[in-house]
């Protein structure tokens, strides 16, 4: 219970930011960039191990934008020239220009690399079909639904490959889901395709939005766990989830990723205790609100440290009433029925058993 984890991204160290910029200017090659991405990934795995985090992430040191990264690696996408996101921030937006297909696995090599560095489980990290669709232009498919479902099929293939490679936790992020609450049915339909037949524990992260409008319907998302930002709105979300009961596991964001200030241990303990009034201890995974990539390395480490310390203290306060063991196999009953009986790889089993 109260296992600690992260949402996905970690800040890139200065040497990697410089290397990415030099790579864009063609001053260094792919090999050199890759070497530095690996170095930085090693550092993040080591940091998470040192901090005592339970479920690790690779930190996405090799990714830029979370939707564009997948679009760049899929057939059927082009990348636009610059569009504005906010203030003085611009990005290149994916454009669907043909049938979406997966030429080859996208994240598997990096997953294997990161998992090879630790005995603790590393989450397989994917971006969800609704979000990739919402964050892309569409010049090919007749409507938004057709785009989302086409992406869902390739994300499903990628998730299956992650599972075969040993992933026991697979997270499929849908930050855009709270944008157009009227499309929640489409997001549910697409997620069902993504997680069909998976035995790994599945998670989705959704960013802050109008949850009152999609609750309790959002519990129909075919995942075991929904990870949410609680800290940046002072846990007011909890009120929404009191009734009806939140039937899935919850990823509990307990520190604000948009603030430079590191929360105190007492503050985070207070946050977890508030949540325990609404969720059962075994329902809760403790993590930051969102990816930490916008913080400095030191800020990110400090925030993670507080999370680990606070979770440990609450665990020990709860004492012997609860077991600390949990399984990473799917607990979503609806989905468990649909599992196609695909056995977990030896490595995945070993990881599950070792915990």
């Amino acid at each position: 219970m109260l296992l600690t984890t992260s949402v996905g991204s970690f800040p890139k160290p200065d040497y990697l930011i410089k290397a990415r910029s030099r790579f864009r200017k063609k001053e260094i090659g792919q090999q050199e960039l890759r070497r530095l991405e690996e170095q930085s990934t090693r550092e993040w795995i080591a940091r998470q191990e040192d901090l005592g985090i339970d479920i690790l992430v690779d930190g996405e040191q090799y990714r830029g934008d979370m939707a564009t990264y997948f679009a760049e690696n899929l057939e059927g996408f082009a990348i636009s020239s610059l569009v504005r996101s906010y203030g003085n921030r611009y990005y290149r937006k994916p454009v669907v220009i043909g049938p979406i297909r997966r030429k080859r696995p996208i994240t598997i090599e990096w997953f294997k690399f990161a998992q090879g560095l630790t005995k603790k489980p590393v989450k397989g990290m994917l971006t969800g079909p609704y979000t990739i669709m919402d964050w892309s232009f569409n010049e090919h498919y007749p409507n938004r639904r057709a785009v989302a479902l086409a992406i869902a099929r390739v994300i499903h293939d990628e998730a299956k490959d992650l599972e075969r490679a040993g992933a026991t936790y697979i997270q499929i992020d849908e930050p855009a889901l709270s944008t157009r609450t009227e499309e929640i049915d489409l997001a549910i339909e697409a997620m069902k395709i993504c997680t069909q037949g998976l035995r790994a524990k599945t998670i989705t992260h959704i960013c802050y939005g109008d949850f009152a409008a999609i609750y309790p319907k959002m519990l129909k998302l075919a995942v075991d766990q929904i990870d949410l930002e609680f800290a940046n709105r002072k846990f007011e979300l909890l009120a929404t989830f009191k009734k009806p009961r939140f039937t899935k596991e919850v990823g509990l964001g307990v520190v604000d990723v948009h603030s430079h200030r590191t929360e105190s241990k007492e503050e985070v303990i207070g946050n977890i205790e508030q949540a325990l009034k609404v969720f059962k201890p075994e329902q809760i995974y403790v993590d930051p609100d969102c990816g930490l990539k916008t913080r400095t390395v030191d800020e990110a480490v400090d925030k993670l440290r507080v999370i680990v310390e606070a979770a440990r203290e609450v665990r020990s306060r709860l004492g012997t009433k609860h077991s600390v063991h949990s399984t990473s196999l799917s607990t979503d009953p609806e989905r468990a029925k649909r599992v196609e009986g695909s056995a977990l790889s030896t490595k995945a089993r070993r990881l599950v058993n070792s915990r």
Binding site: S80, V83, N88, Y90, K93, D134, E139, T179, G209
Partner: protein, 323 residues
Amino acid sequence: MKTTVIGNYPKVAEDSYGTKVIGALNRWQKGEVNNEDLEQVFSETTASVIAEQEAAGIDIITDGQIRWEDLVTPLAKRVDGFSINGLTRFYNNNVYYRQPILERAPRWKGPALVDDFRKAKALVKRAALKAVIPGPWTFTQLIEDRHFKQPVKCMQALAEILHQEAKALAEAGAAFVQIDEPSVGATPPPAASWLKAMSTITKGLPAKTSARFYFYSPDGLFAKLQDAAVDAIGLDIVSDPKLLGRILKVRWHKALGLGCVDARNTKLETIADLRKLFDRVTKVVPADQLFVSPNCGLEFLPHDKAIAKLRLMVDAVRQWQRG
């Protein structure tokens, strides 16, 4: 039939006027360049954007809102009573803005948008230049109101301010003042209060006025739209394709702005489809009362696609006019 745009235009154009706005703003934020240097870049970019719209053949253009952070901040930062808060999503777009907070009773301190309008007007050669302001309900909804804590009261107070601004713009030579009201579709206001606020803004204004509804259909108020004290009603038939059916069933006594080119997706419309659309709409609105435009501001598009869409739109109108 005339062509127009809604308001904002890409601030950067890798294929023509470049990305100098990004660098200039970065350096200005760090204090490395002063206000005049930043203004120089804004002016140059505005000149390019105006020239480009004119070259594309748009009849009624805007200055592209190159200096604007978003629809409400340019006013909020020059009207007394506001502070600026954290990032919030701009409607159902993957675009964010810093939300102004109304801390005390708002007070108009003098023209906020007139300087920019005058500068732009000096750059225009042929087209008409329209001024754009946020609508009273949109202004109310896009801010956090900590003062009135009553949306209708807040709307009316902001309408008084918008009236003064619109008057100053008209006196500076704006022959058209457009009032943007996406929030009317997103979160419908009480109809009577909204109509009153609109009348407050346009009362005695020596300019043609229009209200623009985009991103969402103003479904709840659809029957009342023509009661608003404006000369033209502009609708977005792209975001909600069902809206066209309703437009075709109405007896239009006001001019109609037809937002029919998708400014939120790069896929190019076809001239044939647009011509068919004009055939249908001119059955309920005389051609000389029809203003053809993109459905919303063009800043959601990369520049190459934005300009391609404007050219195609003008082509479609000209071909339709030739019959």
